[in-house]
Symmetry: C2
Subunit: 188 residues, 2 copies
């Protein structure tokens, strides 16, 4: 992941790392397979029963991990849709990139008490999306076994804050700094 | 696909077929693999260089097809995002399910003149999303080799209209009617 970021990533104003050419907008399926295999390696002994992510760019990585772990994928939606019937779990998430607050929802039928949930997402920055997803799992009476993140912006501290609270957070690359002069990765 | 719809699909008011328990919201990854393999079987000789879909629920199927065909996946976004820099292709799409008009965008760098594009989506109803995606490919000077759809609502005629215009449209299941009494599939 670190090599791929250095080779193909692009830094935009406002602390935005653009990885649209391999991780979102355009997805390099060979690289995606490697991501799925690495997530499966990290969590293969955790008894994961389901993978949980949030639309849209989390879906590809979640599917890749679900393929390797052999479990279903559930994704939360960012707005209420006519297609979600009946009772839903709801929580609020602030988006760093889009500077908006989203209501995220998932049908109650898809996360059940007792399930062991792995949360997967493409980015982890201040941790708001991850906190929202954990909140939904908790509402359902299920357990979060951990989180698997493609790219963590370590300098925004969301990951460290959640690790201090006892959540297992595995990121395939952690950026400790990101300037136009270059990227510093955290040794893992 | 027909068996799965009969076993797990649910009909909601307003001609909505709910397949959230295996195709969106929750994705059955074993079944998704089968979908990917079937799409690859249909289009393996078409020289596809890239798969193009639209967020969010098209992404999983597009990734499954991309895995099997060994090509990258690009997805159009439904709104302009801070993360899409530079020039974009833009088109308008009316959503049947959400009763809204979306502006869909994709960075120009991801679809190039001369590419052979396979469009993949979960649903085909009146065909608006597919027309929008075809429009973007045309703007890019690339070629649409065809479309692969998980579930076509044949009674809404979008698929037939596009086939009459010469587009290859392959749907894994075509529903010719859908009432509370049952579903009639088109023989293929």
């Amino acid at each position: 992941m670190e090599e791929k970021i250095l080779a193909e990533g692009e830094i935009l104003p406002g602390n935005i790392l653009k990885v649209g050419n391999f991780l979102n907008q355009q997805i390099d399926t060979d690289f995606l397979k490697e991501i799925g295999k690495e997530i499966a390696r990290l969590y293969k002994d955790s008894g994961v029963t389901k993978i949980f992510t949030i639309e849209a760019s989390g879906i590809a990585i979640a599917v890749a991990a679900g393929y390797e772990l052999g479990v279903p994928v559930v994704f939360a939606k960012k707005n209420r849709s006519d297609n979600i019937s009946g009772d839903t779990y709801v929580t609020k998430v602030d988006s760093f990139t889009h500077k908006t607050t989203n209501t995220i929802v998932v049908s109650r039928e898809f996360i059940k008490a007792g399930e062991k949930i792995l949360i997967v997402d493409d980015f982890l920055a201040n941790g708001n999306a991850l906190i929202g997803l954990c909140d939904i799992v908790k509402q359902a009476g299920a357990t979060v076994v951990g989180a698997a993140i493609a790219i963590e912006k370590g300098f925004q501290k969301g990951g460290d804050m959640l690790r201090e609270k006892g959540l297992r957070v595995e990121s395939l690359a952690i950026l400790d700094s990101m300037t136009y002069d270059g990227i510093v990765f955290r040794a893992q």
